[in-house]
């Protein structure tokens, strides 16, 4: 079974490094694709200016909320508006647990909402559980190939 890739949408290089480290420490070795802002995330998933989207969608998108240009919720909105990515698993992974972000995230169709703990041990644990769950336990929906 091919566990698929992870798309990490994160503008903070520290968080990127720590997330990668946490995933690696639990032997989650899947390809992690990192994009640094919302526009890049949308372009990666849906393509742009004649460039088509990827041949294969990631198994899960780990989406930060505070991003340059398009923020996380706007990215989620674009993803859900497009037929190809309507069912793509998206986990919001962010610093805040603002109620309105949680509510809006779920309303826009997020599959999960995880707050990044300050404690790196807890953070590592969270990353591990996320990886295990979304890459190994969860069954992704069949990918729609209609453009």
């Amino acid at each position: 079974m091919n566990p698929g890739k992870i798309l990490l949408v994160e503008d903070n290089p520290d968080d990127v490094a720590l997330t990668m480290r946490a995933l690696k420490s639990h032997n989650i070795t899947n390809d992690v694709i990192v994009v640094e802002d919302g526009v890049q995330a949308v372009e990666y998933l849906l393509g742009a200016k004649g460039r088509p989207g990827p041949d294969e969608l990631p198994a899960v998108v780990l989406l930060d909320l505070k991003l340059p240009r398009l923020d996380g919720l706007q990215v989620l909105e674009r993803i859900r508006a497009d037929e190809r990515t309507r069912l793509l698993p998206v986990v919001i992974l962010t610093s805040s647990d603002e109620e309105r972000d949680i509510v809006k995230g779920y309303r826009l169709g997020a599959n999960s909402y995880v707050r990044k703990p300050v404690d790196f041990m807890e953070f590592t644990e969270a990353a591990k559980q996320l990886g295990l769950y979304w890459l190994l336990m969860n069954r992704a929906p069949p990918v729609s190939r209609t453009p």
Binding site: N12, D14, D15, L18, R21, L65, K66, T94, S95, S96, D97, E98, E99, K116, P117, V118, D119, F120, M121, F123
Partner: protein, 491 residues
């Protein structure tokens, strides 16, 4: 204009003139009537006397049938121009002599009528028997007098009566003009005053009083009434003005307050929006660097432990502990801010049920502790369930925390009567506090214990107070060091 609508002056004048005129008319009529009657009586008796004399004088002429003598006798009647005809008839009723001499035959009665004097066809006529001294009747004397004297007298009386009547009526009219003023003047003045009152709403006018009669009483009563009305009107106007002024003042005050309120609300809204943006930003941005500090400290500890001595590793551990505490502080502060920002949804909340749930959660989190809970039944309140839960969690959590070193910890939730209302209380037999610092309990980051003694950020009670305040309630505490603490709150 009907009689009713006549001005009172004309009515009074008409009354006086009419009544005096009627009296005069009746009196004059009686006088003239009497005069007419008595004049006719006098005339008849005068003619009768003249007839008697003439009859006595004519006995000889008739006895001796001397008609020339008779005519001579009758012609003496010329002295009285009113005698229009006279005649002597003999004992057989035949005409013997006439007066005047040229009288046409048809002008005299053909034969003598019954004796006596009477008025007949505009004349006074009389038949007088002519007799001897012995009583034997010799004939009859006829006398006819016109009534011109009566008419003249009557006419004169009439003229006098009319003249007197006219003069009297004129006098009555003039007199009434003067006298009616005694009645009409006060009435007119009253009417004038009343008109002034009704036309100009001028209650300060007064009717002049002209005497002590009923009209005077009426004028007094009217003036008194006016005084009362004037006083009441003034009082009314003053109170109205006062009221208007008060209303204007209040309105102005209200407008000012409204303006201030609007201003405050706008400021509050701005402050809230700002706080909201601030809190949002804090929740996103402030924790990220902490995560980096903690994370990379851990990286150092894991990957470079060999290069560090124990002091170095200890320092890194302290960095991590401080970072995590900072994270907790930020989280607590955000909770406190959220208590202010969140929208209130008021409903009935069973605080007893809520307290039991929180107690169970506390027990679950630390299963090895033995704490006695005494939670009163059925304590209900109106409020925001989520905020009230946060408040109770903090209060019961505090009690849980500060009774940790007691051998028989006990936590109580109940209520007491407070100023006619109800205050809820959370009581424990824990570490308590010094009442001297009671005012510091509810301040942000204010702690009465060290972190090493009891963990905490000093935000919990500040959060509780903010929740209670948002519910319009009050919170206060009683306690003593090592004697436990009691927190009271109203909602």
């Amino acid at each position: 204009m009907s009689l009713r609508d006549w001005p009172i002056r004309q009515k009074l004048t008409a009354m006086l003139v009419l009544s005096s005129g009627l009296v005069l008319l009746l009196t004059s009529a009686a006088l003239v009537g009497y005069q007419y009657w008595s004049f006719r009586q006098t005339m008849r008796s005068t003619l009768s006397v003249r007839g008697s004399i003439l009859a006595t004088n004519s006995t000889a002429s008739l006895a001796f049938a001397n008609d020339a003598d008779a005519r001579e006798l009758l012609s003496a009647l010329r002295a009285d121009p009113h005698i229009v005809a006279a005649a002597l008839y003999d004992r057989n009723g035949r005409l013997f002599a006439t007066y005047p001499g040229d009288l046409p035959g048809g002008a005299l009665p053909a034969a003598p009528g019954p004796d006596g004097y009477r008025f007949q066809r505009g004349n006074l006529i009389g038949f007088q028997p002519v007799a001897e001294a012995g009583g034997q009747r010799l004939g009859t004397l006829y006398l006819a007098s016109d009534l011109a004297a009566v008419d003249a007298t009557l006419r004169l009386s009439g003229v006098i009566a009319v003249a007197v009547l006219t003069v009297a009526l004129l006098a009555a009219y003039l007199l009434s003009r003067v006298l009616q003023g005694a009645i009409s003047q006060p009435v007119l003045m009253l009417a004038e005053t009343a008109r002034a009152v009704s036309d100009r709403r001028d209650y300060s006018v007064r009717a002049a009083k002209l005497g002590e009669d009923e009209l005077g009483v009426l004028t007094d009563a009217f003036n008194h009434m006016l005084s009362r009305i004037e006083a009441q009107d003034r009082a009314l106007r003053e109170s109205k003005e006062g009221l208007e002024q008060r209303v204007a003042e209040r309105t102005h005050e209200l407008e000012e307050r409204n303006e201030a309120l609007r201003h405050n609300a706008a400021q509050l809204l701005a402050a809230n929006t700002e706080l909201d943006a601030f809190a949002y930003s804090v929740s996103h941005d402030l924790r990220a660097p902490l995560r980096s500090i903690d994370g990379f400290s851990q990286v150092l500890l894991e990957d470079y432990a060999a290069q560090l001595d124990e002091a170095g590793r200890d320092s890194l551990r302290r960095v991590r502990a401080a970072t995590q505490r900072m994270g907790t502080l930020i989280d607590d502060l955000l909770k406190l801010a959220r208590v202010t920002r969140v929208e209130m949804r008021t409903e009935f909340v069973d605080l007893s049920v809520m307290a039991r749930e929180i107690a169970a959660e506390l027990q679950r989190a630390t299963p090895d502790r033995q704490v006695e809970f005494a939670i009163a039944q059925g304590l209900e309140a109106r409020g925001d369930a989520r905020l009230l839960r946060v408040a109770l969690e903090n209060l019961l959590g505090n009690s849980w925390k500060y009774t940790a070193k007691r051998t028989k910890p006990k936590i109580e939730f109940g209520s007491i009567e407070e100023n006619g209302g109800r205050a809820f209380l959370v009581r424990d037999n824990g570490a308590g506090f010094d009442m001297r610092y009671a005012d510091k309990l509810f301040g942000v980051f204010q702690r009465l214990h060290s972190v090493s003694e009891f963990e905490g950020t000093g935000v919990g009670l500040a959060t509780v107070r903010r929740i209670i305040t948002r519910h319009g309630g009050r919170i206060w505490a009683e306690g003593a060091v090592d004697q436990g603490a009691t927190f009271y709150f109203t909602l």
